[in-house]
């Protein structure tokens, strides 16, 4: 069974926000909300500063707290690629999942249900990349099966230094940043 994830090359990402615009367009994300976003992290002391630009989204964690806290089973792990999804019809809008996410990746859609990145599962089923990956002008985003040792993403993670965001939160995130 596939286990989808992403590797994002922080040496290539320029923070152009094409991924953000593509996601909003592809998924009809309402105005004022984002399923993905850009984070810039500046470290060091002038003049020896380092800047990391990251395209962030739901980490589709292996141990997703949003799934375990959901009282109706609306938040679930889909068998296709073990993607974390929300069944809009089963969601009661209790917001426990929003509070349980250490990444702040979820929000309440104006129609009342919890919403977040789906890895564009509707595109992936048809053999396409998620919209954010497809439009990236620097080709810094790589999507694929983490459990397939022959996939591009597995090769990248095996050959390049990488880190996840907040691994200390213990949720085993599946978005990795190549450094």
């Amino acid at each position: 069974m596939a286990r989808f994830g992403m590797a994002i090359d922080t040496r290539r990402c320029v923070g152009c926000m094409d991924c953000v615009a593509a996601c909003k367009t592809e998924n009809d994300v309402p105005e004022g909300f984002n399923r993905d976003w850009i984070t810039q992290e500046l470290r060091g002391r002038f003049p020896t500063l380092s800047l990391e630009i990251r395209s962030e989204r739901c980490n589709h964690c292996d141990d997703a707290p949003c799934v375990s806290c959901c009282p109706t089973g609306a938040s679930h792990v889909h068998p296709f690629g073990q993607v974390v999804l929300v069944d809009h019809e089963a969601c009661i809008g209790c917001k426990a999942c929003v509070a349980s996410c250490p990444y702040g990746a979820r929000f309440i859609h104006p129609e009342g249900y919890a919403d977040k990145c789906t890895f564009c599962i509707h595109r992936v089923r048809e053999g396409q990349d998620p919209a954010c990956v497809a439009v990236c002008p620097t080709h810094c985003m790589h999507f694929g099966d983490l459990d397939d040792p022959n996939s591009e993403i597995s090769a990248l993670l095996a050959s390049r230094a990488h880190h996840a965001v907040l691994p200390e939160a213990g949720t085993r995130p599946r978005i990795f940043y190549l450094t």
Binding site: M17, V20, G32, F33, N34, W37, I38, T39, Q40, E41, L42, R43, G44, R45, F46, L49, E56, P65, S68, C69, C70, P71, T72, G73, A74, E89, A90, C91, I92, G93, C94, K95, A96, V98, A99, S100, C101, P102, G104, R106, F107, I108, E111, G112, Y113, L166, E168, A169, G170
Partner: protein, 312 residues
């Protein structure tokens, strides 16, 4: 230098989480209060109290039904997808404390109704004569009453503990990541129940019994509050940041003055003086306990939402 800039500005999530406003703290307070009333009611039944002869025991289930319904209304008002609320009862999710809570509430209601029907008011029995027969069958034997008492105590403990576990299970919020929240909310709920029973007690021996109980509960609650803060201070960086919210942050004054000072220490002192006969029993102490219990839920819910894993 460490600076993080994000383009995200999602409603209710940024700049810090504020998904739960007044409804959830009120619901947690009322739930805890009902838990306290249920446990007291159960203890009274186990000790042989009969509703008709006891000014404290008789109204507890009735008040509990009213408070729980109010709490459920607050919970319902908080839901963003209200028309789907009944989905809570379509499945049981064992890993979700909220699912446990929904089913616990479903068990608590009939227990409160059974308790209320032990001695239904005359106005009701005149209109619905079958209520008299129902009441008789419930109090048929002392064993049956003791069993109802045991069930009420069990339901009260489950309900009180659940209100704390609901928050402490959300590990993304360092302020809530403490196993002490469950006993703290349970003891605070019991204290609210005892304070309320003190308020409605007609006989002085009943008042004294409730004051003695509430004084002990307040002492335990004070210890749990201090341990909660100490636990956070002694934790890692994110726990220390969470503790700073009530030590030198925006919630410091409300936590130490309203929750600890006015809600616990002041009524504790007043009731200790009343026990030693220095002052008369006053309604002010139980009222402060109830206000403090409400303030506690507000501060804990706010502080938890303001605490997070990300630095900065």
């Amino acid at each position: 230098m460490f600076e993080t800039i994000t383009t995200r500005a999602n409603h209710l999530v940024d700049p810090h989480l504020h998904v739960w406003a007044w409804q959830i703290p009120l619901y947690l307070f009322l739930g805890g209060w009902v838990a306290g009333l249920l446990i007291l009611f159960g203890l009274k039944l186990r000790r042989g109290a009969r509703p008709a002869r006891d000014s404290v025991t008789y109204p507890l289930p009735w008040i509990g039904l009213g408070l729980l319904s109010l709490g459920m209304l607050a919970l319902f008002l908080d839901l963003e997808h209200k028309l789907h609320a009944l989905r809570l009862y379509v499945s049981f999710e064992p890993s979700s404390p909220m699912s446990w809570g929904a089913w616990i509430l479903l068990i608590v209601y009939p227990v409160l109704v059974l308790g209320a029907l032990l001695d239904p008011p005359g106005a009701l029995t005149r209109r619905f004569p079958w209520l008299t027969r129902a009441a008789r069958s419930i109090r048929w034997t002392p064993d049956r009453l003791r069993l109802l008492g045991l069930v009420a105590i069990a339901c009260g403990i489950l309900l009180g503990v659940y209100t704390g576990v609901l928050l402490s299970s959300l590990g993304a919020r360092p302020f809530w990541s403490s196993g002490l929240l469950a006993p703290l909310f349970l003891v605070s709920g019991l204290s609210a129940g005892a304070a309320f029973a003190h308020l409605i007690a007609r006989r002085s021996d009943e008042q004294r019994q409730m004051v003695l109980l509430d004084t002990r509960l307040l002492a335990v609650e004070l210890a749990l509050l201090l341990l909660l803060v100490l636990g956070l201070v002694g934790g890692g960086a994110v726990q220390k940041e969470a503790a700073a919210l009530v030590l030198r942050g925006p919630l410091t004054a409300i936590f130490w003055v309203l929750v600890v000072g006015v809600g616990v220490v002041l009524p504790l002192v007043v009731q200790l003086l009343a026990i030693r006969g220095r002052v008369h029993h006053q309604p002010v102490a139980p009222l402060l306990v109830l206000g403090g219990g409400l303030a506690l839920r507000f501060v804990i819910v706010w502080a938890g939402q303001a605490s997070h894993w990300l630095h900065g």
